[in-house]
Symmetry: C2
Subunit: 314 residues, 2 copies
């Protein structure tokens, strides 16, 4: 039996064909063109599903279900996207709309939760029942699995790990609060802090690295500059990793999962960030003992597709 998994993003809609082991057999994507109304977007989504079924010489009856991971608050029971500021969805009846075109069960879940499920099915959290996957990107996405089940909250707004305050009254967060973990440990925060450091320490090599064009500063920049021996860049990274660790240590005291997986673009740095984060977290742990394993995500963007597909099994 096969499953279709959809990563419904602000830029692209990616659909994958997945088998019951969570193996991604085929994937394709189309632009979301998010300015359109939801009917048009979801019609394209459904048609891409139909195309993939055909291209793989399958029929609708060979497919168990379609799972969709979407940004925002998703009512997984009703199959309705309650709210997403990434795509202008509000009370969007996703399940009903997709089923206009294709007669299959449709599951819906928040995209960060899907990524967590994907990592647990075939990625870094494989084999663990209690896991947390955090994705350090534009924001911080978080997905919590307890005994293999997604924690989505009583009203589908739980698992928003990036929006817990670690610095009361601190940096402004997009959610309206001040000092959220996301405002310190997302890639966006790292870029902001890299720029601030470049302004404060003009002799650092950060500015030189981008020929003085701050628009070119990415999350990678500060790592490249540190590699060249720049002390300011090293300090920015140290501070950044300590903020990641502060939030991770909070998650350990709150959930104590078997494993915490760190994903997102920043993770291209691999052990270079994992080891210092782990060392920090260990220092912050009660008695200096760290029972929870820590790992870098394995599946990249495929995690969301695989996880969405596996909603049919979850």
């Amino acid at each position: 039996m096969y499953y279709l998994g959809v990563d419904l993003g602000g830029t692209n809609i990616a659909v994958g064909l997945v088998n019951e082991k969570g193996e991604l057999l085929h994937k394709e994507s189309i632009p979301t063109i998010r300015e359109r109304n939801y009917e048009e977007i979801l019609k394209d989504l459904a048609n891409l599903c139909i195309k993939i079924i055909k291209d793989n010489n399958l029929e609708v009856k060979d497919i168990e279900s379609i799972g969709v991971g979407s940004p925002g608050t998703c009512d997984s029971k009703e199959g309705v996207i309650v709210y997403s500021n990434n795509i202008a969805f509000e009370n969007t009846p996703l399940r009903k709309e997709i089923q206009k075109y294709i007669d299959l069960p449709v599951f819906l879940e928040n995209d960060a939760n899907c990524a967590a499920l994907g990592e647990s099915v075939r990625g870094a959290a494989y084999g663990y029942k209690d896991s947390i996957t955090i994705t350090l990107g534009t924001g911080i996405g978080g997905g919590v699995l307890i005994n293999g089940k997604i924690l989505s909250g009583a009203f589908f707004g739980g698992g928003e790990l990036g929006h817990h305050v670690i610095v009361s009254g601190g940096e402004q967060c997009t959610c309206g609060r001040k000092g959220c973990w996301e405002a310190y440990a997302s890639a966006t925060a790292l870029i902001r802090d890299t720029k601030i450091a470049a302004l404060r320490y003009p002799l650092s090599k950060i500015s030189e690295e981008v020929n003085g064009d701050f628009n070119l500063i990415s999350a990678k920049t500060v790592f490249d500059v540190a590699e060249k021996g720049d002390k300011v860049a090293t300090e920015v990274i140290d501070k950044y990793l300590s903020y990641i660790a502060e939030g991770v240590a909070n998650m350990l005291n709150i959930f104590q999962p078997e494993i915490i997986v760190i994903g997102g673009g920043v993770c291209a740095q691999g052990e270079k960030i994992l080891l210092p984060i782990e060392a920090h977290v260990k220092k912050l742990s009660y008695g200096g003992e760290l029972k929870t394993k820590m790992a870098i995500a394995k599946l990249g963007n495929d995690a969301g597709i695989i996880g969405a597909a596996m909603l049919g099994l979850n």
Copy 2:
């Protein structure tokens, strides 16, 4: 059928007879005398259980199980208190020890988790499957119920809600970290901040209230002084309630339970603290919308006994 619930505290051991509805029919307590070795303490505990069975004209076969709530990390699977700094227990085989004296199933769980279960069975969280009960006392105890089940973490160290940092690098916490919620929102923190305010503002009426004897300052003092119109006291309370709200808002974004119950001595203030906390939390909530209900705990110290007894049903 009946259940015995035990609240094994640093000062007293309280045992209650509870029916299957969670009604507390009879309770009795004895001093813990925690300097003793665990064998003596648990022998007393078992004997009190036997006494209560007899005093109620029951027999051991009328009792379904004994549930024990203990401070510290409790391996509920093995029935072993892994570590508690409140009573000097370390790898204490509680279940085995109690069963030397009384042939019944023995369940063990962290005391804050028992209090949460108690509030959900007969208290403020009655009727809700997803609830969090926080107890503001010497520290902050937290218990999380998801779909009616206690969240205890993969290695029985989860649910330590008081030890999530809300002010990175802030006040020293007993756990070793700096800036934990407990270091800002426990009764201990309130007493510290009341004393600091009295020192900084000698014209405030705080010092007068205790005739200059700082040892007499309790969590209640600042509320009594504020009642008399003292501005400094009012500011201490406002700040304190905002810290409670900061942590509560974090819990909402992380778990989004149906209800959050606030317990502990400070809650004697009732709506006087609940309403401002609720208003604060609402302001901190995404879109200013608060779906989760908030309430003051109903069962006081009985919550732990009732919850422990109900471990046999959970």
